[in-house]
């Protein structure tokens, strides 16, 4: 994990923050990372308000960087614990941090890395089904075919997302025409 000296320094600065505030600080940090809170929470908290703002700023930014770098390096809770042991982080705080990290790092990964990466989901498979609609509770004698299409998209970490939609015969015809054009475009390249 690449961390600057100032970031690592923030861990030792934790000693200057009273222990009673540590949990609240952690909740704020993870709240911000999970996009459930923002820095205005500091104003609302009596205990956080009392801490010197420069100190709070340094510790806050240092910790956020550490967590994000850990997520980027794909560290699990154990590896993070190992890493923190070699730093000047107070043991009790490290324990709290690792616990919170363990619960949330998947979610943080999803939120931040997927929105900034270049990798789009990749189309790997298709399933289709054709039904014939007879009637519904709102309208009878419908008598029309309907297609259900299921596209399998694979994300960078191998997870598969399914994209489902329906279409009638005309829409399917349009879709096939569009795709045929796309396929032909490549043929004219080489």
């Amino acid at each position: 994990m690449e961390l600057s000296k100032t970031n690592l320094n923030s861990l030792s600065l934790l000693k200057k923050i009273p222990k009673s505030v540590h949990q609240e600080l952690l909740s704020l940090i993870f709240g911000v990372l999970l996009q459930q809170a923002d820095e205005t929470e500091i104003e609302k908290s009596q205990s956080l308000k009392q801490i010197d703002s420069t100190l709070l700023k340094e510790v806050f930014s240092g910790l956020i960087t550490i967590v994000i770098q850990a997520v980027k390096a794909n560290l699990n809770a154990k590896s993070l614990a190992q890493f923190l042991k070699d730093t000047s982080a107070p043991a009790e705080f490290a324990g709290l941090l690792v616990t919170a990290y363990g619960k949330t790092f998947q979610k943080i990964k999803e939120i931040h890395l997927e929105t900034t990466g270049f990798y789009l989901k990749k189309l790997i498979d298709i399933n289709w089904r054709m039904d014939y609609i007879i009637k519904s509770n709102k309208i009878e004698q419908i008598d029309k075919p309907v297609y259900f299409i299921d596209l399998n998209l694979q994300k960078k970490d191998g997870q598969i997302e399914k994209l489902k939609f329906s279409c009638d015969t005309n829409q399917l015809q349009d879709l096939v025409t569009t795709l045929k054009d796309a396929v032909l475009a490549k043929k004219s390249l080489k």
Partner: protein
């Protein structure tokens, strides 16, 4: 032969039409058609009742009854004779009968369209846009020329999904969908369609 069944309450509400002149009656029928199409305006009901000098509650209940009539008849796609047979239960005057039949026939298709919008369905596809790129190099490799398709799919629930595909995948998917499309022209499908009818 399919007929709509009115319960006693509805019969009573609709028989109110008998007491009215043709003009007034047809105005109320028009209001209920608009009501069905989504232009429900309680103030309009108020205005109509005061202008025609009728008790508002009765007018309102009549409009609800007529909406029921039109909903059910569009839902079942009643033929002319079935429709007339159904409204016999409320014994309308000849003129009102004609007015109701005309409104039904004129608006049936649109009412069926509205009903099918309200029915159960999965989000459907709005559009698929594609772009063909050639990947030249990346951090790990250079001097390559890999064709890559960039696709954007929009569905009717306002979701936009971006994804990429390479040529082979796209070709196999196109083939699969062509097979799916051919199914709608197959013998099996035609047989089923015949049997269900």
């Amino acid at each position: 032969m399919v007929i709509i069944y009115f319960n006693n309450e509805q019969k009573e509400d609709l028989q109110f039409l008998q007491e009215l002149s043709f003009e007034v009656g047809s105005k109320i029928v028009q209001v209920s058609i608009d009501f069905f199409k989504g232009n429900y305006n309680p103030k309009l009901l108020q205005n109509v009742s005061t202008k025609l000098n009728l008790p508002q509650l009765k007018v309102e209940r009549c409009v609800y009854g007529l909406s029921y009539l039109f909903t059910e008849s569009s839902k079942l796609s009643l033929s002319k004779s079935d429709f007339l047979e159904s409204i016999n239960a409320i014994s309308p005057t000849k003129e009102i009968e004609e007015c109701l039949l005309e409104s039904y026939q004129k608006n049936r298709e649109e009412m069926r369209r509205i009903l099918s919008e309200m029915s159960l369905k999965l989000p459907s596809i709005d559009s698929l846009q594609w772009r063909l790129d050639v990947q030249i190099s990346s951090r790990r490799t250079s001097n390559e020329a890999k064709p890559v398709y960039l696709l954007k799919l929009k569905t009717s629930d306002n979701r936009t999904v971006w994804f990429q595909a390479d040529y082979n995948e796209l070709e196999s998917i196109t083939n699969q969908l062509e097979i799916a499309l051919k199914e709608s022209k197959s013998q099996h499908y035609k047989r089923i369609k015949k049997y269900i009818k």
